[in-house]
């Protein structure tokens, strides 16, 4: 995605991911193998806000470490399916809820070194 689509607040605690006219597909019968598709478009704005609760997920066997914070995430979006004249607009960002969100930094694979202690 264009780097301009992802912005951070000065303190790094808020991240905003925003894109418009993202080409997607409408595939109501997915995952049926013969599920038909219709071209569609998505505009969305997603805002992550970090809390003060740290998280650290690490697995040396699988060679990954995520260090960050639990977060609040909220989303507003509009979808359009021109061929069937369908649009859907979510309520404003503030009204959405998310059950799980984290934001932080990840290293894995060749970049991973196990934490000491």
């Amino acid at each position: 995605m264009p780097s301009t689509g992802l912005t951070f607040s000065a303190d790094g605690k808020t991240a905003t991911l925003q894109m418009a006219n993202v080409p997607i597909i409408d595939q109501p019968r997915w995952p049926a193998v013969d599920a038909e598709t219709t071209p569609a478009f998505l505009d969305f704005k997603l805002v992550f806000t970090a809390t003060d609760e740290p998280v650290n997920y690490e697995n040396a066997m699988q060679q990954y470490r995520f260090e960050g914070f639990k977060a609040k995430a909220q989303l507003e979006a509009t979808t359009r399916v021109p061929l069937i004249d369908f649009t859907f607009k979510t309520d404003p960002l503030e009204t959405s809820k998310c059950d799980f969100a984290v934001m932080g930094d990840e290293v894995n694979g060749r970049y991973y070194e196990p934490s000491r202690g």
Binding site: I24, Q27, P28, F48, N59, A71, T90, C98
Partner: protein, 140 residues
Amino acid sequence: MARDRLGSFELNRRRWLELGITSALAAWLPGARLNAQSAPQSCAPSIPQNHEPSNGGPCPYPIPWLDKNGNHNQAAMPNVELSSIYHFKGKLARCSGFHGMGTDNKGNRLAWGTPTTDYSYMAGEYWAARQPHQAVFAHT
């Protein structure tokens, strides 16, 4: 990534396209290409000419034990690999379990979201074709 499967929602057709939307957005810096549904084909390894070395293509590696096809990952939750890319370092955020309400163009009020409605961003460096690459990715 499109783990939005037929679930228990009562809304039977649209669900904000949720059951059918699959979009993995990847764009490259520089270049700013926007791609949906799958990784760009342009990063496939080329056939070397004149005996040049072949080091693979610049496509990011999927997490090996999660998805050999590189399209899906696992639901975001504590103590799991949150990245969709192997050999990655950088900023990452994941969220799942969105739910809310919205309105279609006929005025119908519809609920959207399932436990697997998730979004993410990844911004940083990944390793492919024996060299580092900088990129920003989003998953919707």
